[in-house]
Subunit: 190 residues, 2 copies
Amino acid sequence: MSETTENKEQHLEEINQTEEETVNGAETQEQQKALSPEEQLNAKIAELEAKLQEEENRYLRLRADFDNMRRRSQLDREAAEKYRAQNLLTELLPVIDNLDRALQVEVSSDDAVSLYKGIEMVYKTLIDATKQEGLELIPAEGEAFDPNVHQAVMQESDSEKETGIVLRELQKGYKLKDRVLRPSMVSVNE
Amino acid sequence: MSETTENKEQHLEEINQTEEETVNGAETQEQQKALSPEEQLNAKIAELEAKLQEEENRYLRLRADFDNMRRRSQLDREAAEKYRAQNLLTELLPVIDNLDRALQVEVSSDDAVSLYKGIEMVYKTLIDATKQEGLELIPAEGEAFDPNVHQAVMQESDSEKETGIVLRELQKGYKLKDRVLRPSMVSVNE
């Protein structure tokens, strides 16, 4: 594009030169001497070489962008894959909690025992399914309190146990692989 | 390309010229005259212009590849996002089935009724969570049999209803958005 413009300019210059020639022969000759045909060609070569260099650099920059994007989109894909079940698992935590609670109630009548056994089986299937997607129960009771995975809601005192130890788990906490979905709610030994 | 070939030929010609120079001075001078400095410069310009053109084409091809990859990876990301919960939802279908079954049993004693109510609540929470991720129950009973979403496991006869109508749903079927996770198992009217 720019070359075409330049050619036009060159052409216009030639026309101007021709006009001037009729007015002042000496000046025109000096202008011609200042840019001989060979020099013009060499200038053109230098210009083309610069453009070629520029074009090569442009290609290399795009190549680098391309590679970066490929790498980034690979990482995005891996992260999306790794945590794909996060939303649903988070929504399932209350389901797990409630089944947990239901199974802590003691039952005695026949129909209740039968229902209880059914629920126990369902609970196991649910836990297995969530484990397969990477859900893990955070260890709490007896562990050293860790603010990254435990939320202390009360302090208790047990002189037989070390200070800073989790005494009771009040609500189970869960991780999805290395991400904490919900910390355990715990009581900590003073 | 043909210009590159030409350049090679030119180069070979030059080598030949050098060899011949030691043999016959006059002939060589005539050949050098055949390719004046100006002509050599013009050849160089033609060569550079060809290279520049090639370089520009290479850039445009890479640009097109880049755009294609960006588009493709966007589509991949959307599909991965759309069906991200597919694995876990598939694993949850037996959980839903078993809760469903448990809730179909009639209970009468106090502890059983209390447990039943708890399970009913859990079931509702579970269905809400899976709905949020795009799980949908496939309509069956009373619908026209559709082999894309229904699996016919038996035929029954009800003269009061149209032929080819689903009479009973034996197991619920589910879709994740537009994807069938499990067809409904149904009986079809003869």
